[in-house]
Symmetry: C2
């Protein structure tokens, strides 16, 4: 099968290393990279490199286009063009999948080709394929996970060494785990894309990233918070989770406190985990490298092999009408804030105090996130974390 790769960054390089490496398997030996789309100033650096996309689109021998440019444009346009030219598309780009999954799936159906996106969630973890396999048999009524390795690295280091957020963020940047602007990783936007895609697949519905989805990141976590949680026997993790209940579903991204020794608490370094609950299979969890050249490249090649082996995606129409409703997702939240508004904002709930920490008892996620928006306007250093239990 002839493959064109759009972009030769980290993931693109990983794909070429796997397909063109010295030790092909019987299955990867059947794959051939015929074109690599790069910027015009890089075209001279190799003989497969092209900067004119029409060369790829009009080459009938190219069966599959792999998009690893990242970001929304030109990825969105180039994917739609490839599909319209009857080429299968594989992408590792969570942002463009979360925004345009419906259009891409529709175009793939119309043009009788496949659109695949395994690597867009959980990097090397075979998450989408196993979720879809589960759905062949089971109704799936919840998904949750540690979908961002950078924030997990930061929280894990803080927990193990007692260092400050700023110091550990700097280490993550030096290691190449975090960008110069770390917002996407630490504020939950990266997780939002991945949780949207997971929810789309799990419930056969459509959720788009946006401000209406509650997100609380780890930008304001301090060493003293980690130490306080440790004294309570708890470990904080930045989680995405969703639960289906009849015709509504919950969706929330927030720091969650697990008992030390629990599965989620054990996910160390920059590893990810992802879990779902199916009616007959029960709870299934997956753990692995959520990013990186070779793990993510590997996930892309898995998609290519499924296309080459004519393995069909599970049929999903994404048209189940569900209502986002976080009022049923209740639990206890531990909050650190100096905001003088906090007491009046939480007056409808039972609140206990322990030094500078307050615990709001049995409050729903929607109310808690609304309150924290107001609290942050008053105290930009406030932090909160949900105590695991109930829906977890």
């Amino acid at each position: 099968m002839n493959i064109a790769i759009l972009g030769l960054g980290t993931v693109g390089t990983g794909i070429t290393k796997i397909i063109e490496g010295a030790n092909p398997t019987a299955m990867t030996a059947d794959l051939h990279i015929s074109h690599i789309f790069v910027r015009p100033d890089r075209v001279d650096q190799g003989d497969k490199l092209v900067s004119d996309y029409n060369v790829i689109l009009n080459d009938q021998s190219v069966e599959t286009v792999v998009e690893v440019l990242g970001g929304i444009e030109p990825a969105h346009t180039m994917i739609t063009q490839a599909l319209k030219h009857h080429k299968n598309v594989v992408t590792a780009n969570k942002a463009v999948v979360a925004c345009y999954i419906e259009e891409f799936k529709q175009l793939a159906r119309e043009n009788n080709v496949q659109f695949r996106f395994e690597a867009s969630v959980g990097g090397g973890i075979p998450w989408i394929v196993n979720l879809e396999r589960g759905l062949r048999i089971d109704a799936v009524d919840s998904v949750h996970g540690i979908f961002n390795g950078t924030s997990n690295f930061i929280l894990d280091r803080m927990t193990k060494t007692g260092e400050s957020f700023e110091s550990v963020l700097k280490q993550a940047q030096d290691l190449g785990y975090a960008e110069a602007d770390p917002s996407a990783d630490i504020d939950g936007y990266d997780i939002e894309n991945k949780l949207c895609i997971s929810v789309d697949v799990a419930y056969d519905t459509l959720v788009h990233p946006g401000e209406y989805l509650p997100k609380f990141g780890i930008r304001t976590v301090q060493a003293k918070d980690i130490e306080y949680f440790k004294q309570l026997g708890l470990v904080v993790k930045l989680m995405g989770r969703s639960k289906l209940n009849g015709d509504h579903f919950s969706y929330v991204i927030e720091p969650v406190l697990y008992k030390a020794g629990e599965f989620e608490a054990s996910i160390s370094d920059n590893f990810n985990c992802a879990s779902f609950h199916g009616a007959s299979v029960g709870d299934l969890g997956f753990i692995g490298q959520g990013a990186g050249m070779m793990p993510t490249g590997q996930a892309v090649v898995q998609d290519i092999l499924d296309i080459n082996g004519q393995v069909k995606h599970l049929k999903r129409t994404l048209d189940t009408k569900l209502k986002l409703e976080n009022r049923f997702d209740k639990g206890n939240y531990i909050v650190r804030t100096t905001s003088t508004q906090f007491d009046s904002l939480t007056s409808d709930w039972q609140v206990t105090s322990d030094g500078e920490y307050r615990t709001v008892v049995d409050i729903d996620a929607q109310s808690m996130h609304s309150i924290m928006k107001k609290v942050l306007a008053d105290d930009s250093e406030a932090f909160m974390a949900r105590v695991a239990g109930g829906v977890e």
Copy 2:
């Protein structure tokens, strides 16, 4: 697709609940159970029940035979007969797969049908399918896991409550997790079958269960051992593990001590976990229900759906010549024994003492297991556990 089920015990019942349940999926709706093979005295209990296997073998409409009888015979004979009658076979029976995988695969090839065994290892965990998917791209050089839920339940309860082995074993028997004769679960024989199958698939080789494979179970673990490990910050788990190194591989089943907070230490109750390491994907772990009516039934139905969807197994010939060699698998072992032979048996290694516990430093698994065979002859209550690290 017409399916005949051999056996209507726990797993057989789970399969019928999934296929004949009130909420079929688009894919399970395509499956039909036409026959269920049972003992002659049960034939009157339903209209699909037959006790004459020839009825199934000679019915051209039966495409797939599901064997969930358990044990070696008549399962082995009935599987070979089904394959020779050009019927696909799906089994959940680890014992018969571990002993006869080569014969079954050979017969399946000769008769142009599929032989599948997902449910034989890890119950509801999609272990074989993901290991095989990994192998499409990667050389896999290690597998390890908690492959037995009963022993994990026992160790987890002992760790959480401080109760005795005997008391917790009784609870496991009352819950239906353990048999009246618990040997297979607590002495490692159940794990042996599952690790043999995993090694066969991972390295494309053939390992048969037998006395030459080192196994040390949890029959002699005492509450005081668990308490001692806890003081060291360690949690004991009964593990199977294997590592490939050139033309030899290690294979060992033994209690292993993980730091509290590590992934393996977090596997609670009767859950299983299984992990492999692949060249590009790195470490991948899977966690789920390793047994039970619905999870295991679900795994069997996954195999049936792959056959119905004409998804091919990874081609494995099981003919890679590898040498079992546990001399390179070195680590520290903590031992409790009153045997007077112990000092002379371990005189070639550094040994440290702490009360009634000794630690043998940097000893290979083969030597340690040989020594413990002699120690047990002298002190039948002796216990040992490997300290995780090195090859883990």
